[in-house]
Amino acid sequence: MNRIYSLSGLGRPLVAALLLGSAFASSAANSVNFNRDIRPILSDNCFSCHGPDQNRRKAKLRLDVREEAIALKAFIPGKPKDSELVKRILTDDEDDLMPPPESHKKLTPAQKELLQRWVAEGAEYQSHWAYAAPKRPVGKGGIDVLVQERLKEIGLKPSPQADRRTLARRLWFDLLGLPPKPDEVDAFVKDKSPDAYGKLVDRLLASPHYGERMAIGWLDVVRFADTIGYHSDNPRNIHPYRDYVIKAFNENKRFDQFTREQLAGDLLADASQETRVGSAFNRLILSTEEGGAQSKDYEQRYLTDRVRAVGTVWLAQTIGCAQCHDHKFDPTTQRDFYSMGAFFADIKEPIVGKRESGLLVPSDKDTAELARLDAKLAKAQKDYDGPHKELTSAFTKWQDASLVASENNEKWKQVKPTKVTSTNGVKLTVQKDNSILASDKNPTNDTYTVTLTGGLDEVVGLRLEVLPDDSLPMKGPGRATNGNFVLSGVSATVTRGQEKPEPVKFTGARATFEQTVANEKSPARKWTAASTIAGDAKGKPSGWAVLPEAGKAQQLVLALGAPLTIGKGDTLTIELKQNHTEKEHLLGRFRLATTTNAECARVAHPPAPPAEIVTILKVAAEKRSGPQKDKLFDHYKGLVLELAALRTEIADTKKAKKDLDAKIPKCLVTVAAETRRTVRLLPRGNWMDESGPVVQPALPSFLPVSLKKEAKTNAPLSRLDLAEWMIAKENPLTARVFVNRVWRQFFGTGLSKVIDDMGAQGEPPVNPALLDWLACEFIDSGWDVKHVVRTMVMSGTYQQVSTASKELQARDPFNRELARQSRWRLDAELVRDNALSVAGLLVPKIGGPSVKPYQPDGYWENLNFPTRAYDASKGEDQYRRGLYTWWQRSFLHPSMVAFDAPSREECAAERNRSNIPQQALVLLNDPTYLDAARALGARIVKDGGSSSDARINWAWKQTLARAPRPDELATVRQLFEKHLAQYKADDKAAEALLKGGAATLPAESKRAELAAWTSVARVLINLHETITRS
């Protein structure tokens, strides 16, 4: 079958194209050129019904393929008068007229004339300019040569070189996105060496801010944002991708590798953390968490989102238009669309719902610290694991003692309290294991009252176990921050029926451990069990405490003076008094038990081990199984003092690791799933219609790239194949698309103006030879981005003045011919960076999580699930560069919106440059810019010299890198003097103006002056020149 476009016409050099619709429209002297003159007319007016889309084709006629048009006698080459096409465009008969009136399309007389001449000259076709590989033009090449050839042809002359000050400012904004410092400008102005300019360029290209500047455009086109976009627009972990992009530009990562990593960084043979983070590109889509969203619906949305992105970022093709039908203007078929989508069917992701937290992305420092902690942990664990021969005899003793303790324990009976109350409002909860846990309020003192009703028979001892719990500080058993408590007194009364309560007498108190460390203000320097029944020693804080044994169980055993029986209808009330003077020394978790064994009531045995350990203990030592032995010894190791240091080290190291992990950035990245999603061609793009054929990943059929992988295996093409195809030498689009976008950054408009469409409806480049030369230069340099950038800014074309004579303005109002430089308003981020920089507030830190500049209260009020508060960043994060601004897709920061930053819900290859009143309101009233004005005002006073004129001069140099003219000086002086007088008379106003933000309020005597200079600074920050790159 015929290729859609024949490639034969490519050999001849393209006639220099003429600018459509401008002062340089096609002239009679030149022959008609299909790509330049005819295709745009046919595409815009005819292809919709007579083009690539076979389903919409009328009368079976297609005009995009010459052979088929001739076969259907649409025209006869060389014979316009006999050609149907010519008759149809000229006729007065509305029924025959083309394009038909109902299409609302109308050809101009000039277009009709062109079509006739084209047919007369043989109706030659050319391959679409962008679908043939770029070729180096015959001759010398180079930006200046090609621009000047073109200028000569149309009779224009280049403009002179701009002055050094203008060049410095231009280079700083274009390459770094920041203004130069006055001394930097001076140094450049004074540098008389012949390569002064080149040296400066190289210096700026080596600055880490270069990567930030280049990243802005890339983040737009790939639609990087901090949030998911749809509905709840919740955050996702993605900022390491921004760091990746900045670093890639700074390190001049070759664009082919940059492409591979983003499309398939996970599939590379040498995939690394860095390449995986690059693959976050595939995750930058909009996603949803909306309840009731249908997953098939969103599966399709994600697929189309990705196809549109790839189409925009690398190909500048509106492939997205082929979602529902074959493309109307370009040869992209609907099958191409879904086949492209199928490349991404392996990406593991939730369709509806919260994104996963993603890959941990430690910095080099984090990685080193993690390795250190791992080694430390491994060593400590090894030491702890043992064998610990030195503990053998102690272990045996402990086993004996534990057996005794457990036998003793069996003689105690836990009691379940009927009621537990707190005097000071602590919440006391009886747990399933009969222990009582304290929570909520944590007063200084308290008395817990435990009531038991009936069920005690001949009890001679009462036991209070204090127990550790994860909910307590240092795991308890107390509620003080060190895990301690002080039990200052225990008393009990018995109430029998309606009788008066009688006190219960205790005759002895013993504990498993008594605190002797004296740091808790005990007059006795000892915290004994005995003190709990010694009677309430008023004014002398004392009691039983357990430091430093935090996190462990202990027991207090109280012997009763006489056996006690509590029958049905009787109650025993036990009061646990905690009157220590230091705060929060209260019991955290405890349990009561009773015994009828007098022996038990006189000894505080160590707490018995847990039941499972007791079970092992009861097995004769030689009969224990291997695992039983291990378990027993492990349990013992957990208790012995000798290993306490190691235990602490292990626990601390684990915690340090966990804390570090929590701080390490995470990033959504691409992970290939084992099973690919099935991708079908969807009739009319309708996801509910599953009648279409299943498609496999395939490259667009219309692009003549030989690389198309042979089907060596049955495995489908992968994202890596897609990446390799993008950067294949024969791919006609990728290099052109990238250099065209970069060109816009340095010249204001693309060589082909429609940055995101190099298809039939885009614009054939004004200077195709130049675009081709740059694309070749890019590829031949090994996809060296800095080389391309350097080539552009080193050109004489770049260095021209941006002012234009009346004649030039009239002949080339949009500066498409490059007989001068262009001037434009700075991008949103740079407006901010510039103001903060001249104010001396900018924090030049590179990379890291997004930050939150001041934002009007309530701006997020219409967000929900959940509702969100905006917490403006504090400290240095308040003064970071604009590109680090938190990118909330559904409510992007309003200052950013005002200056045309895109929401990044869709790929944005270029931004508007609007000029609207909101921009004035932002620069006048946004607290960020007020902050900047105050800081600049303070600098003026501090560093600007003594006279008003000297200060104005100084301020002008800081902000605009030049001195003010006399008329400017007068305008500002007048304002300053007026406001100085006003603020002198109104200190309250001066104070109000100067308060807040980064500034410290000066003494009253200085306020009026500073306030007036703040007014001047506000003026400077608002100037058109300040926010303009010229």
Binding site: A760, V922, L924
Partner: protein, 488 residues
């Protein structure tokens, strides 16, 4: 001379100079400037068309316009047509019975995915209102009081079934994000008659009660149209327009001094570099300064007579839907082209019986008052009012979230229109007997947009903007019909 007048004069002189020199600002175009700046620059920039007002890109208009502006009342969340406007006795009869599969098979389902589909009878009582006898819920006495002014469309449909895409579709005619909203299209096409106010204004209210669905700023985005056509959100709290208030310690006079100095310096700079963008910049600063005055005056309703506030049922500054309706009238009086109100929280998956009356109370009286008030001022004839949610609700019950409600439904629901050129006391279209599918005269969102544009004097098919190679239009590529049957 006042600062404001001086500024205006400065702008005018600059503009006159441009015109005198035979140049207009390249980046912005004269028409656009005019639409933004209202009359102060128009005097210099050329005469506005007497009939059509200041020019937008469509000039002359395609048709004689029937209205000058639109007030669009968005009931966000999806109000239930079955409780409010579309009484279905058959549904009541089948309450509790399975929904016939013939209606539901192969249709989109939102939260009822995988659940049994059971009929749920109407949960409010209906009555007839006005001379026309329009049947509506008893909860709508206010809307009912203007029944003879409105035109019900009971056969509305949408393509989307989830809030976010459905709002995007209703506002921009496509579910793809990043496209211009209808208000942006309208001001782009027609310009604005408002002096010192934006041409497209958005107001959002919430009432008492639950957790409403989010609304994204994309809903009033200008998409690929110039940024100045984006909707300006007039806020109920804080600055009514973002960054409107002068910094603390700066008086209005001092703010004027700063702006005057900025503009003067910009003029001085222009004399050196001769940059057409500078004139536009100067004009924007004047506009900003004017807005700092005009917007607070606009939102301050304390001067409205007590009986008017009573009629709407609002207190000054309460941020309620009723207040926003009153503001909508004030915006209409000032010539704002497209005024869009959002009232949130109509998403009754559960507690329909308990919560629907709350929303009805919050909106009903003000809706009626707005129509009556516009009428008594002679503004209704030149205004088109649209009341619509992003979709309706299922005839099936949803019972998994407490007391029953209804799920999202896009195959048939009800909206209403009122104002210039629309038949009064009229009803159009119908759903099937269970209120599921629009079966008589189904209306698409594109049809609705085409009709609204037609009333504004625009042929939707001819109103295109080149984007990504396509002649993009609000009404999409599939074609749309103007609802001639509902026009008078």
């Amino acid at each position: 001379m006042s600062v404001a007048r001086e500024l205006k004069q400065l702008t005018s002189q600059q503009q006159t100079r441009r015109i005198f020199l035979g140049r207009t600002a390249q980046g912005i175009g004269g028409a656009a400037l005019a639409s933004l700046l209202g009359s102060s620059l128009l005097a210099a920039a050329g005469k506005p068309d007497e009939k059509n007002g200041p020019k937008g890109v469509i000039h002359p208009l395609h048709f004689q316009p029937r209205v000058k502006r639109v007030i669009w009342l968005t009931m966000a969340g999806g109000p239930s047509h079955l409780e409010l406007f579309d009484y279905k006795p058959k549904l009541a009869e089948m309450d509790g019975e399975p929904m016939p599969g013939s209606l539901t098979t192969g249709q989109q389902v939102a939260q009822l995915q995988g659940q049994k589909l059971v009929c749920f009878g109407p949960q409010t009582k209906f009555k007839r209102y006005g001379k026309c006898g329009a049947e509506m819920t008893e909860l709508f006495p206010g809307v009912g009081s203007v029944a003879d002014e409105i035109c019900l469309i009971r056969s509305m449909t949408s393509e989307a079934i989830n809030h976010d895409p459905a709002h995007t579709f209703m506002n921009t005619g496509t579910q793809l994000v990043g496209r211009p909203s209808m208000g942006s299209w309208a001001t782009y096409g027609l310009g604005s008659e408002a002096e010192n106010l934006p041409g497209f204004v958005v107001l959002v209210s919430i009432g008492v009660g639950r957790s409403p669905q989010p609304i994204a700023a994309r809903q009033w985005s200008a998409g690929f149209l110039p940024g100045r056509h984006q909707g300006v959100h007039l806020r109920g709290v804080g600055d009514p327009v973002l960054y409107l208030q002068n910094p603390a310690g700066v008086s209005r006079e001092q703010q004027g001094d700063v702006i005057r100095a900025v503009n003067k310096l910009n003029v001085q700079h222009d004399a050196v570099v001769d940059d057409p963008e500078i004139s536009a910049r100067i004009a924007q600063y004047e506009m900003a300064y004017q807005m700092q005055m005009s917007v607070p005056a606009l939102v301050d309703t304390s001067g409205e007579p007590e009986k008017i506030r009573e009629m709407y049922g609002c207190r000054p500054g309460d941020g309620s839907f009723a207040s926003n309706c009153l503001l909508a009238r004030r915006l209409a009086e000032r010539g704002v082209r497209f005024i869009q109100l959002y009232h949130r929280d109509w998403d009754h998956h559960s507690q329909l019986r308990e919560e629907l009356p709350v929303k009805a109370r919050e909106t009903d009286r003000a809706c009626g008052a707005l129509i009556s008030d516009l009428k008594q001022r002679g503004l209704l004839e030149e205004t088109l009012v649209v009341w619509a949610g992003e979709f309706g609700r299922t005839p099936m019950a949803q019972r998994d979230k407490g007391s029953p409600g209804r799920d999202h439904h896009n195959k048939g629901f009800t909206i209403w229109l009122a104002g210039g050129g629309v038949k009064r006391g009229f009803s159009y279209g119908a759903t099937d007997e269970l209120g599921y599918h629009a079966v008589v005269h189904p209306v698409s969102v594109h049809d609705l947009h085409a009709t609204v544009l037609q009333q504004l004097g625009i042929d939707h098919a001819r109103f295109t903007e080149k984007f990504q190679g396509l002649d993009w239009r609000l009404t999409g590529v599939e074609g749309a019909r103007v609802l001639k049957d509902i026009l008078s």
